[in-house]
């Protein structure tokens, strides 16, 4: 800052021709190469013109300015404008209030929020604070509104998606319900089939249980087994059988029921009478008389007396079947 008055004075002296040749050449080189120095000379020119217009120069200084005016139309024009500047500004009230008051009739509402030029910088900050607050609030409102709009759009999209999903779920449920019905029906059918299968298996097992452990022989009436005309049928009972089934040929009879009694070789009954219905299998017709093996001793002969019962349950002597149990 100490250099500044010196530079101002140097510039002023240069314009008035008061520098030595060396000083002037040094300064001129700076004027051509240094923007700041050049601007300082222009400011010095302003001030020289102002002093000229205000009649604040010596005679010799005035002569020099006038020579500049004569040699430079630009300089002359500047002097004219400086006179207007001086005249018009002096006619203005102090503090430039008039310039502002002239515009006061046209003052816009927003100027109420703006700092006036005559305010100190600190006061301008204070003055501009409400405007800044207003702007900040506006920006915040815009941000909030933008966020709200974005969230609303996202929410609407989510609701739409949810509705779509619910519809899809309902469709799936409907399909699932149909499938469940079909499944239930299938399961019922399966259960029924399983039950039927179980019954069949049980029946088969019963059948097997009934048939497999029983050893059976076919005996013709009055003769031996297989009806081959022998005096007495004979057979061996395999071990492990609790019962033996004796199939007694009743092809010659036509009775709905027969009553059988096991007799020993002396024709004494050794079992209680059993009532049996005839069974037709192929071209054969017989009654199945089951005898516990404990009643039959190997090496012994036995006889089965059969009485026929007609439809009125009247008993008739039908036939005797003799057989021998071998060892």
């Amino acid at each position: 800052m100490a250099e500044q008055p010196n530079r101002e004075e140097l510039a002023s002296r240069y314009l008035l021709g008061g520098l030595s040749e060396n000083e002037a050449m040094t300064l001129e080189e700076q004027i051509l190469s240094d923007d700041e120095v050049f601007e300082n000379l222009e400011i010095a020119e302003d001030e020289l013109i102002d002093r000229y217009v205000r009649d604040d120069l010596s005679t010799e200084e005035r002569r020099r300015v006038r020579e500049m005016i004569l040699n430079s139309p630009r300089f002359a024009e500047r002097v004219d404008i400086a006179k207007i500047l001086t005249t018009r500004i002096r006619s203005q009230p102090a503090g430039a209030a008039k310039a502002e008051k002239k515009k006061s009739g046209k003052t816009r509402w927003w100027n109420l929020f703006l700092p006036t030029p005559e305010m100190a910088p600190a006061m301008r900050l204070v003055a501009v604070a409400p405007l800044a607050l207003l702007l900040l609030t506006g920006v915040l409102l815009v941000l909030v509104w933008t966020r709200y709009r974005t969230e609303s759009q996202r929410w609407a999209r989510a609701e739409q998606r949810l509705s779509q999903l619910e519809k899809e779920i309902a469709d799936q449920n409907a399909k699932s319900s149909g499938l469940e019905t079909a499944l239930t029906q299938t399961q019922q059918e399966k259960a029924e089939q399983e039950k039927l299968l179980a019954d069949l298996q049980r029946q088969l097992a019963e059948q097997r249980g009934k048939t497999l452990p029983i050893f059976s022989f076919f005996i013709n009436p009055g003769v031996g087994t297989r009806g081959d005309g022998g005096a007495e049928a004979s057979f061996r009972i395999p071990p492990g059988n609790d019962e033996v089934e004796l199939r007694l040929n009743v092809e010659s009879g036509d009775y709905p029921q027969y009553e059988t009694t096991l007799q020993d070789s002396d024709l004494k009954p050794i079992s209680k009478p059993s009532r049996l219905k005839p069974i037709r299998r192929g071209n054969r017709k017989f009654i199945a008389f089951k005898v516990p093996t404990r009643l039959l001793r190997p090496g012994s002969s036995y006889s089965i007396h059969v009485d026929a019962l007609n439809s009125q349950q009247v008993r008739e002597d039908f036939s005797d079947y003799r057989f021998r149990v071998t060892r």
């Binding site: 800052m1 080189e29 302003d46 005035r62 404008i81 515009k103």
Partner: protein, 213 residues
């Protein structure tokens, strides 16, 4: 000015000598101008900018020297510099060289220059004294251009030039304090606003002149 300073004897106007020997007057050629530009910068655009800047400021130096028409003296300066470069002169500091040539031309012009008396001067003390002036085109242009400034710039320029001589320093000091800037910054700011205002007025007056024609 420690190197490549032009020597006065080399750069004096030799038109008389040329006429004596019937040599044609040297004129600027494109080649010579290109060589001159290359002394400012090897980059053509940058060289052009530096040339224009130097020319404007050289013009201003001649205005301030007040020894003759500034534009003619500036052109003559560049012609002589270009001629010397075209003739093979090596120049390291073109600005210093231009200033040196300008100083010689200034001296030559001063010798031919006849000082103007105060009575012959176009402006007199009575005419420049501020006084009420009827509104005319200049006033109207001034008012319009002043109104065209921003309120801050208008306030500053009016306040800066408002004060009378006696209290000028004090008031400018207070204005700088009020604006929170150093005095020199205030001075520069006022100058720039004033330049803008004057440019506006000049354009306004030119427009008015065209309308009158």
């Amino acid at each position: 000015m420690s190197f490549n300073d032009p020597q006065p004897n080399d750069l004096r106007d030799k038109s008389d000598a040329k006429r004596t020997h019937n040599k044609p007057k040297w004129v600027m050629t494109q080649t010579a101008f290109d060589k001159l530009l290359s002394c400012f910068s090897l980059d053509r655009d940058e060289a052009g900018r530096q040339y224009e800047r130097t020319r404007v400021r050289l013009f201003r130096l001649f205005e301030w020297s007040a020894v003759g028409p500034a534009d003619e003296l500036a052109d003559e300066t560049f012609n002589r510099v270009a001629r010397r470069i075209d003739e093979g002169q090596k120049i390291d500091n073109v600005i210093g060289y231009v200033v040196g040539v300008a100083k010689i031309i200034c001296k030559e012009a001063r010798k031919k220059h006849v000082p103007v008396s105060l009575d012959d001067a176009p402006e007199t003390r009575h005419r420049i004294t501020p006084e009420p002036v009827e509104p005319d085109v200049r006033m109207q242009c001034f008012d319009d251009c002043l109104e065209g400034l921003s309120s801050e710039r208008r306030f500053l320029i009016v306040e800066y030039y408002q004060q009378e001589r006696r209290d000028k320093i004090d008031r400018r000091q207070k204005l700088a304090e009020r604006l929170g800037i150093p005095q020199n910054a205030l001075r520069i700011r006022a100058h720039r606003i004033r330049m803008a205002l004057e440019n506006c007025i000049t354009q306004c007056l030119e427009g008015a002149a065209v309308r009158n024609e």
